[in-house]
């Protein structure tokens, strides 16, 4: 150790005597900072992922037909792809900075699980994207047409492939599998790489994220093309672009809905609290209805935790049970069933889980003490527990709950209002995108897209909506699983580095300023290039 366990980092680390209680404002600011960075990063990523494929499709048509108009079309969208890529590139690295500084306990705890996928992502992203993006942009008339086209496709696949790894890492945090906890190193160690990357959560997360990103880019292309049609400029270019984007859009809208549906089923099974929050369901039931649309308000009077009551709602009878269990008689647990337990349905109360988690934490503490004092016998007995499947199932499985001993139960419930609205906004917009892309495709194939100005306005107004849906999806996934960083094993209060909140606040505002400037730059450059059109230099 170089300078003590709690070193002065610009005098911004909390002194040791203040460690007993974690300031919730520190956790909130750290979460806010991470959310800001991740959500800003996510403005660019989906467009990069989707637009790269749309460019590759257009490029393929150009190579096959030799039509110069397709070359101009490809170059135009490639330019917008380049702007988005340039502004967004490396913004994700800030998340890794934050792991090391703001979430050091977490980044140690997850160990290789995060390290391996991110290292693969870094290498893949660097070699595939940076090499082939250069060929894609500089390769016109310099390399053979086929190699140039190959570069476009490899850029598209490379971008999606690099997204695989970060999503695998995230999926592990949502549903930790394929690993064991080593109590000597305080790290999780991978025992099955394949279990980690092919976990149902990871596969579904990847498919849902990637298909929704493709859909976002399709709607972007249709929206920008609609602007040209509204101004009666570059009509052939705009119509052709709309055809490609609407075909891609319809396919990916269907894929997004199908994967979203299976995602809901997985969440209901693996993260029932998140699922209950998404539907603001407090009392579990069979034949549970699905809230199609509704508004909630907070009622603080009725129970030990505040709850959201519906001001109004429109329900689809039995649909929630059917969605989860494919039968209306399936029991969907509500927040109360999970917090207070439901013996009949096999749900242990949170109080019980807190007790069991506290036992697991105490065992880990005793193990460390035994090691420190060189008590080999006690050490071996305690160490053996971490290899015992029964003990792991009874106690370690609830490890994270142990941090809530003496705290309020409501801290274990995510923000229901935000989860509910985010989920419903995402689903409603998803339905709109499917109808919209079908209409765009149908009219394009009939050569009537552009005849109705109001539809072009709808296309233009729809343009920002996929970002809203995509960010809402992120909120559902990440906020809905609170307070867990690693699901039910590590809560935010244990994961956070004990810095002074002001240290996190400073960087939060620096990020907000930097990101705002970058976002303004993106919009300005993008708009100026769009105005120039496909013929512009």
């Amino acid at each position: 150790m170089r300078s003590g366990p709690i070193t002065c980092w610009n005098n911004l680390l909390i002194p040791e005597q203040m460690l007993e209680s974690i300031d919730m404002s520190l956790v909130d600011w750290s979460r806010g900072q991470f959310a800001l960075t991740a959500m800003f990063h996510w403005i660019f990523v989906p467009l990069t992922l989707g637009l790269s494929f749309i460019v590759a499709f257009m490029h393929t048509i150009y190579v096959r037909t030799g039509d110069e108009e397709w070359k101009q079309t490809t170059k135009f969208w490639m330019k917008l792809f380049g702007i988005n890529f340039a502004i967004g590139v490396a913004t994700g690295i800030i998340l890794e900075f934050e792991f090391g500084t703001n979430w050091s306990n977490y980044s140690w705890f997850v160990g290789d699980i995060f390290g391996a996928p991110l290292a693969i992502e870094g290498i893949l992203a660097f070699f595939l994207e940076s090499t082939f993006i250069a060929v894609m942009f500089f390769g016109w008339n310099k390399v053979s047409k086929r190699f140039h086209l190959l570069a476009s496709w490899l850029t598209a696949f490379g971008a999606s492939l690099s997204a695989v790894w970060i999503l695998v890492a995230n999926a592990w945090m949502q549903h930790p599998v394929g690993t064991v906890f080593n109590p000597e190193t305080a790290r999780n160690e991978m025992i099955s790489f394949w279990d980690v990357i092919f976990s149902e959560v990871a596969v579904n997360k990847f498919l849902h994220t990637i298909s929704s990103s493709f859909l976002l880019a399709s709607i972007f292309v249709i929206g920008v093309s609609a602007w040209f049609l509204l101004r009666k400029r570059e009509v052939l270019f705009a119509r052709r672009s709309t055809v490609i984007a609407s075909v891609f859009g319809v396919i990916t809208a269907i894929a997004t809905i199908v994967t979203g549906d299976s995602s809901a089923r997985i969440v209901a099974r693996e993260q029932p609290m998140k699922f209950a929050a998404m539907e603001a369901l407090y009392e579990g039931q069979t034949h549970a209805p699905l809230v199609a649309i509704g508004a909630v308000r907070t009622d603080t009077s009725s129970s030990s935790y505040s709850r959201e009551d519906f001001i109004f709602k429109i329900e689809i009878p039995n649909a929630l049970s059917y969605m989860v269990f494919l039968t209306p008689s399936g029991f969907v647990p509500g927040i109360s069933d999970l917090v207070f337990g439901n013996e009949e349905e096999g749900y242990i109360s949170y109080e019980e889980r807190i007790e069991r988690g506290a036992v697991a934490i105490q065992t880990l503490k005793d193990l460390k003490k035994a090691k420190d004092r060189g008590d080999e016998q006690s050490y071996n007995t305690l160490r053996e527990k971490f290899n015992d499947p029964v003990w792991l199932d009874q106690y370690y499985q609830h490890f994270g709950f142990g941090y809530y001993k003496g705290r309020e139960l409501k801290e274990l419930i995510p923000n229901v209002k935000l989860s509910f609205y985010s989920f419903h906004v995402m689903v409603i917009l998803g339905g709109h995108f499917l109808i919209f892309t079908i209409v765009a495709l149908w009219l394009s194939l009939k050569n009537r897209w552009g005849n109705h100005r109001w539809l072009l306005w709808v296309a233009l107004l729809t343009l920002p909506m996929p970002w809203i849906a995509s960010q809402a999806g992120w909120v559902v996934a990440e906020l809905g699983r609170q307070p867990w960083v690693v699901y039910e094993l590590m809560p935010t209060i244990a994961a956070v580095t004990r810095l002074k909140p002001v240290a996190v606040q400073i960087t939060f505002w620096i990020f907000l300023l930097t990101f705002t400037l970058l976002f303004i730059a993106e919009i300005r450059i993008m708009l100026s290039q769009i105005k120039k059109g496909p013929g512009g230099k």
Partner: protein, 67 residues
């Protein structure tokens, strides 16, 4: 071969028009990220403050078992 690759990149960068502005943004961004944020605000605390993994493990265990 190497010369060909070099010329490919050299020509590409030289003939850039709208891309110059983007490279400017990328470089400023990378400078802010690595020369300012990483250096002054985001050290990897466990790497910086401890010499070995054993010490890091000890420290994190201490943190995790004293909630």
């Amino acid at each position: 071969m190497l010369k060909k690759i070099y010329n490919f990149y050299y020509d590409g960068f030289r003939k850039m028009t709208w891309g110059r502005r983007l490279w400017g943004i990328i470089l400023v961004k990378l400078f802010i990220m690595f020369a300012i944020l990483r250096l002054f605000f985001f050290p990897d605390l466990l790497k910086r403050d401890f010499d070995s993994d054993e010490e890091r493990a000890d420290y994190v265990l201490e943190q995790l078992t004293n909630p």
